[in-house]
Amino acid sequence: MSSAPLLETQNLGRKFGQLQVLSDFDLRVEAGEVLGIIGPNGAGKSTLLSVIGGSVGASTGRILLDNEDITRTSASWRARHGIATSYQIPRPFLEMTVLENLLVASTFAANARGKKAEDLAIGAMKSVGLEGYANNPASSLRLLDRKRLEVARALAANPRILLLDEIAGGLTESEVPELVDLIRHVSASGVTVIWIEHVVHALTAVATRLICLTYGRILAEGEPQAVLNSPEVRSVYLGLDPDGENEAESFVKNRPSEVQKEPNTHA
């Protein structure tokens, strides 16, 4: 092999009791990619991100970062080595202010000190539009702002690989393009992004590659539009007639309003 990918999983598997959530999962992520992941609920998307982020251990297989085995490293180690995760269910430091939440990430994950740590935290805070709440405790934020804070915390970690889990759900039609711009911006700075999203049109706007997961396996993979148009994805994920014409696109366009309710069910 001439050049190793930035991140690679080999035969990755994760079992919860008898439930095999991920199995024999092989993934190669090149530096600079924006990899989108879609798939029905329960497909193992979030588990995949958690296993890569280190908050959930792998049952089988290996994870390689820069061709180095990191399977046994902790979530904290991975955060300090450039893998930052924005979780689907935000877990802010409730009694700390928004700024302090971000300072934790910039100080420890990005290993910045003094003014540098502050600059990173403030930059991340502004990029998600939370500067108005800088001195408010995170416990006072609404769910949507907590999700913004979760994204900002991953950005403040100054990552090489950014893992995003459903960050667009609940955003309004005008907010989605702003988020897409932010991710495009972050990607352009050289950060590799792996993004799970049900708001598919947000994903296809930036993704360079798309994977559709189901039952812990890859159902389809490749150029985003091709994946969305593939018969398997149409029937399994989008629930459309596999042979219908151009329905996928209109479905995808209408999808965001439908998933707006989702955050509440997670809260």
Binding site: S74, S76, A79, P92, L94, V104, A105, L120, E131, G190
Partner: protein, 341 residues
Amino acid sequence: MSASVAQVLVEQRTHFVRRWTRTSIIGSSSFLVVAALLAVLPFMVNLSLVYSMIDLFILVILAMTWNMLAGYGGMVSVGQQAYIGIGAYSMVVLADSLGLNIFAAIALSAVVCGVIAIPISFLVFRLVGGYFAVGTWVVAEVVRLLVVQFPQIGGGAGISFSAMSDLSRDWRIATSYWIGLGATVIVVAACVLLIRSRAGLALTAVRDDMTAASTSGVMVTAVKRLVFVFAGAGAGIAGALIAVSTMRVQPDSVFSVQWSAFMIFIVVVGGVGTLEGPIIGVLVFWFLKQLLADYGPLYLILLGVIGIVFVLFVRGGIWGLISRKGRIELFPVGYNFSKKL
């Protein structure tokens, strides 16, 4: 790393981060003023009050450091009496047997306790939650049982502390008081500086959410070990002060689990996981103690009832009630976002 989020995110600085706020300037200077006023107290009031104030200092030290451990680090220890006892015995050995200067002996007692806390941490960190609590208690009992095996330090009967017995009674009490006051100021300042530091930011994150702290790059176990050692050293200072003020170290008294019960009461009532809470809790506890000292067991029952009421209905303690409307800081430990003028 050539390109990074840092470069994209950092723009012209229009804001800065302040550590001091108006309330923390007022709070911290009031703390120093109160300490200075307390320093002249022995010349103004009768000595029995001065003597009972030494107890208050010991309780402040214990509550502040236990709060670091339990309130911030999430480690509810009921075994801090292990270090109180070791600190008290170290004081006797260092000052009486080895003839060290009192101040050096107190500082070294703290060091001894901190060092002993390191191997103990490896043992008890294998346990979590209630098991951790019981484990620390067991360690304290083991230490007590070991200590009473040595007749050289008095065995089960205890040993006298005589380094200050040349002083007249009045001067001895006053000197103990000043030593206690000085130690308290140092310990409170150490707690404030710890929480204000980089490690303190990690510790505050651990207090709020240990898992999220870990995924934000905080080395949770290292931070917890640091605070475990810190709290051990703090309890050691309290033990040394007990030796100084009572002039006697009795194993059943210094290794009593009652110390842990008092610390828990104080921190729960004052406000767990804050720097201000334990100080308020100590004042409440100390006044209750003065008021109800003559009632014997009834006093302990009342303390228990108050503690339960706070745990059930006033989770943030008294400081939580005071600062409910927004964050108030009496010490400069937070980070405040301000617009550049």
